[in-house]
Amino acid sequence: MDLGLNEAQQMLKTSAQDFLSAECPDTYVREMEEDERGYTPELWTKIAEQGWLGLIIPEQYGGVELEFQDLVVLLEEMGRYMLPGPFFSTVVLGGMSIMDAGNEEQKQEYLPRIAEGQIIMTLALTEPSARWDAPGVELTATANGDSYTLNGTKLFVQNAHVSDYMVVVARTGSSEKDISLFVVPTQSDGINQTLLKTIASDRQSEVVFSDVQVPSSALLGVENKGWETIQKVMQWGAIGKCAEMSGGGQQVLDMTVDYAKQRTQFGRPIGSFQAIQHHCANMATDVEGSKFITYQAAWRLSEGLPADREVAMAKAWVSDAYRRVCALGHQSHGAIGFTKEHNMQLYSRRAKASEIMFGDTDFHLENVANIIGL
């Protein structure tokens, strides 16, 4: 057993910290909250140069061919530094869908361009029903000769506004899991997007498909088998979000401990009051738990072991733990932590968004209940 990071992971973590502290300071995060695109192409290019976009893409497609657990180490740091932009949607949602379901030609076409930073991708999964299960997919793709016609509405699509391609999850048959995936250029005729205003100031959109025509070659993998891939993508997505939350939680804890040492009231640091000490201790407990429950699931996913139980437990735990950590962080900071100028609220707003992506605590506890035999 080895619960720690290996040497390569440690290096990745350190270089991510060096890179992100230099390139993604909080000033950048704030600027991007207001920015129309939500990221800068300059930083995107530098990220590509780090090899991060191709971190888990096989070498034959121009990637570095590391494992999912290595990506998790990187995502943890991105959560800590709140990296804005389409990294997650391109690599975890778009890229991993193609790696899982794509045929050789499709992999050749998209993966090298992802690795090089030439294209931005996302996944169009959820709809106004806001469901994470197969019946929630109502957008239809109707075959006609060697093309398909897409009709329906996707909601909460991450970074659709800057994506070159979307992996669209569509219904192609009447039985529950008759679902197929299509790689669709975002600029296609008949696609209409509207940005939503969200708590995390991230970029999510409503995307309406009206008679959007795509060639048969856009079908990713096998018709009516798309849901198998989506289930895996949701697991990677859930654990990817856990990693971001775990990193964010660590930063909130560090910030709070620092502040508790610095801020004096009644002639002593507030960190000398047991009330504040207990807050910090509770936060540390949540952060510790978040890390290991995330790593365990990431490891199982990397090894290709069954991971339903571990993923459900991780997402259920970390979603709540991170919210608790942020709440105690706020409470310990007093009024200053509620100001827009303070970083505390940048984390707590993002915590809410991560909590509900790929299923919240209730959703995953229900999975756990099934898995433990209830």
């Binding site: 469901r131 205003k197 708590i199 002639g267 409470q331 100001t339 209730d362």
Partner: protein, 391 residues
């Protein structure tokens, strides 16, 4: 034991409902107004005037000052009905400055301020906290130096509502730097409007609102605006005012949010099932309903104690901690029930209940810090209430 309100108080409850239904210029079921918001403040002020005309704003005041000397339970009824409808009635002037002037003010001060306070003409800002003095308020450093007929005030006051067109600030200032910290503080009234040396900065908060930072640079405040004795301001500010201070507005507001959420659950689905049929959601909402009810009774107890001439001490702190934390849990549950939609800002077309719950949830964190943090309240409960030794 008798948990009923008096018949006349229940009649009064109906009277308020009828009045609000007829006179309120906005739909309280659909819209939350923020008295510190520029657009909203005009509507709120105008409606307050109407409440003032009814004599309701100052119903707690003694008759000699134009009030009705209303019983504590009648005040509970009024505060409950207003809070339930999201109406801000009663402001710092009516609840704090007025009564303090009745206790400590000069005749001239009473004459100058009380009528205007009663008719909600003055917009007050509370200038207690400073950047370095929050929980430890008595360490405040804003200096007031005597100079002829004036004090010359320098320093800064933070987290107040001065950004929202406040006319006056009631503030604590240090007049005697060498005295023990509680004994060198004075309570003064400072006009902000058009005052030389006053700079007001807006601090954007994580919810959709601001707090104020006011900097005083050699601002002249006439000595006639000193309330109570010089250097006794700490005790003036801390005067226990015999008004209803049960915090009953919190469970009243929460009751309305609960109702909104129940309606939401009856109309919306999660994973194909009506939220109202989901046992987890049912359980969680029911639990909150119990917590809100418990809070309400705790608040009633505070008011009832007051009506019996008992001084609620730990009881008031208990309602503050439990009330603000319950409100935070309730909004948190509301946001959670809304699932992916819970993350939408108020101005999103897809936002349920106009995004009110999301924004109120963020704001509700402030409640656990403002006016004495939960930690400080728990210290009070443990040390003053339960007489545990100080750490």
């Amino acid at each position: 034991m008798d948990f009923k309100f008096e018949g006349i108080d229940e009649d009064f409850r109906s009277e308020i409902k009828d009045f609000v239904e007829k006179e309120l210029p906005w739909n309280w079921r659909e819209q939350d107004l923020d008295p510190e918001d520029e657009k909203d403040s005009v509507l709120v002020r105008n409606f307050k005037r109407k409440l003032g005309d009814q004599g309701w704003l100052t119903m707690a005041w003694p008759k000699e000052y134009g009030g009705q000397a209303a019983s504590h339970m009648r005040q509970v009824v009024f505060n409950e009905e207003m809070a339930y409808r999201g109406i801000s009635a009663g402001d710092a002037g009516i609840r704090m400055v007025g009564p303090i002037l009745m206790l400590y003010g000069t005749d001239e001060q009473k004459e100058q301020f009380l009528p205007k306070i009663a008719s909600a003409e003055i917009n007050w800002s509370q200038g207690y906290s400073e950047p370095d003095s929050g929980s430890d308020l008595a360490s405040l450093q804003t200096r007031a130096v005597e100079d002829g007929d004036d004090f010359v005030v320098s320093g800064s006051k933070i987290w107040n509502s001065a950004h929202a067109d406040s006319d006056w600030m009631f503030m604590l200032v240090r007049t005697e730097p060498d005295a023990p910290k509680h004994r060198g503080i004075s309570f003064v009234l400072t006009e902000l409007e058009g005052q030389e040396g006053v700079t007001i900065e807006k601090i954007p908060m994580m919810w959709d609102a601001y707090r104020g930072l006011v900097t005083f640079d050699n601002v002249r405040v006439p000595k006639k605006n000193l309330v109570g004795e010089q250097n006794r301001g700490w005790y003036v500010g801390a005067a226990l005012l015999d008004f209803e201070r049960s915090g009953v507005d919190r469970p009243a507001r929460a009751k309305r949010v609960l109702e909104d959420l129940v309606e939401f659950c009856k109309e919306n689905k999660k994973n194909g099932r009506l939220l109202a049929d989901d046992p987890v959601i049912r359980n969680q909402l029911a639990e909150l309903a119990v917590q809100v009810e418990t809070t309400r009774l705790m608040c009633y107890n505070v008011a009832w104690m007051q009506s019996q001439d008992l001084i609620p001490n730990k009881e008031a702190s208990i309602t503050k901690v439990y009330g603000t934390e319950t409100v935070n849990r309730l909004y948190g549950l509301g946001v959670k029930i809304m699932g992916l939609y819970g993350q939408l800002d108020p101005d999103s077309k897809w936002a349920p209940l106009k995004g009110r719950i999301e924004n109120a949830w963020l704001r509700s964190f402030g409640g656990m810090v403002a006016a004495g943090t939960s930690e400080i309240q728990r210290n009070v409960i443990a040390q003053r209430g339960l007489e545990l030794p100080r750490g």
